[in-house]
Amino acid sequence: MSHTATLTTSISATNHGAPAVEVSNLRKEFVRRDRRPGRPRKRRVPALVDVSLRIERAECVAILGQNGSGKSTLVRLLSTLLLGDGGTARVFGYDVFSEPRPVRRLINRVSVEASFFKKMSSVENLSYAARFYGIPASETRTRIPMILERVGFPLDRRNESMENLSRGMQQKVALARALLTSPVLLLLDEPTTGLDPRSKLEVQNFIREIRTTHDATILLCTHDLAEAEALADRVGILDRGELLALEPAAKLKERYGASDLEEAFFSATGRSFELEENNDDDWRQ
């Protein structure tokens, strides 16, 4: 069975002509407890501030942002896992807040943490997950090994429990889980963060391969500048919950008169782009 065949069935469930993602003035705040004396005990901290963006079908858009900038919040809102505090978000024409069911059928996601039942094997984790999307055992029996092989997972380890697998391998299984359901919109939330250089490259190559073999739309959140530039048609800069720009990397550099994305990021945000060690949301203190 070919992946393209299953992909087309999903696409037919999308609203004709609607863009893959259409977000306008989207806002999300969280209530944070603060134990420091002299401050209000609870305060609302903004995670997304009036974000608007549009992603066309089959496009790959990368969102660059440091830790705490709101990338995961955006992905969670689009995955129907959070409710917004203002604005709208549509996936293939369906409102993610009021029509979550059709949206769920069209999307899948890979996040930083691999998120599996650790004592279960990769095949077991993938099998039950596929059922939630209505895929029967008769189909997964052949498709799971096939997809695992495609993402470069060593098939002889498919019955080993997840906890024995390296981070890189777990992340490949996470990719396989997302692809298994033939999503038309793939939400990748820092899929390569924390991976060793080789696994990172493999995952990136695989994302590139998905782009050429499927016409799936990809939203890639990352804090890896090179990854964003190499994989995406357009790059957005998300800073403190605000989307400052969203255009092809070349245009972005041109706009800020920068020689590379790091410089462009600095010009846009007024701060240098630091990796990993940047603590969650220091900027709010």
Partner: protein, 277 residues
């Protein structure tokens, strides 16, 4: 309509997926399951020995009958524990493993998801309760000449509908209170049983607790099962226990689903689905 037939098919496959996943977990944690069963046996023994203990210290009672009454109470306690644990703990467990977001973003409807958990809990719980009952009865060499086990199972089955409904309400607790939600589930289990005459007749309870007993499904479950096992009462004569169970079941399932849905909305509004921000 082919569209809705496809949806029903997808939901049924999803229901199977929930059961399949729980079966994998039982298999992968088999040793733990055995240890947990041994613990339940030990726990049950401490209660069931009470009848012999009372006799040894000079009390006069029908030890065989009293032991059976205690055994039924202890088995129901353990059964209810399993139902609540599977419903509540799996949500908590999924939060801990981080899979919860993947489960909640899947197109499977929440009611089918929760029913799947309920069905698994009942199948697993009945098998475990049967085994527990058998092991302890064998241990004490209990005689139950009149016992109507089929009728007892029918009562247990009908009461399980209510237990699942209540379990759905407690399952939402880990979503709302990530830290203490599971413990609140245990509290609910204890409260339910204390008013339901788990090791004694509800007549001994103070007035307000007796009132609570009339709305607790466990009261009717315990009464019906004791009648079936001690007196050999058949299904047709257990109607006075069965109809309240049917009524409570018919209320608690939709209520349980509604409570869970509200809890899920709350969790999605406040970002509580995930363990950490």
């Amino acid at each position: 309509m082919p569209g809705s037939a496809a949806t029903v098919r997808a939901e049924l496959i999803g229901l199977g997926g929930i059961i399949e996943r729980n079966a994998y977990l039982v298999k992968r944690y088999a040793l733990w399951e055995v240890a947990f069963f041994v613990w339940t046996v030990a726990n049950t023994l401490t209660i069931v020995f009470i009848a012999e203990g009372v006799e040894a210290s000079g009390g006069s009672l029908d030890v065989n009958r009293q032991t059976t009454i205690l055994l039924i109470g202890a088995v129901i306690w353990a059964y209810l524990g399993i139902i609540f644990e599977i419903l509540t703990e799996t949500v908590a467990w999924e939060r801990w493993e981080g899979t919860i977001e993947y489960t909640f973003m899947a197109p499977l409807s929440r009611s089918v998801h929760l029913f799947g958990m309920g069905i698994f809990a009942v199948v697993y719980g009945v098998a475990r309760a049967g085994l527990l009952f058998g092991v302890i009865a064998f241990f004490f060499d209990l005689e139950m000449p009149q016992a109507n086990f089929v009728a007892a199972l029918v009562v247990l089955g009908v009461s399980s509908v209510s237990f699942i409904g209540i379990g759905m309400m407690t399952a939402v607790l880990p979503l709302i209170s990530p830290e203490k939600g599971t413990q609140l589930g245990f509290i609910a289990q204890g409260m339910l049983l204390v008013v339901s005459g788990v090791y004694y007749s509800v007549d001994v309870l103070p007035e307000p607790m007796q009132w609570l007993a009339t709305i607790s499904p466990a009261t009717y479950a315990l009464e019906g099962i004791r009648d079936a096992i001690l007196e050999g009462t058949g299904v047709s004569d257990l109607w006075s226990q069965l109809w309240p169970l049917v009524v409570i079941g018919a209320i608690s399932i939709p209520l349980g689903l509604a409570v869970f849905r509200r809890g899920e909305l709350y969790a999605k509004q406040h970002g509580k689905l995930k363990r950490s921000g």
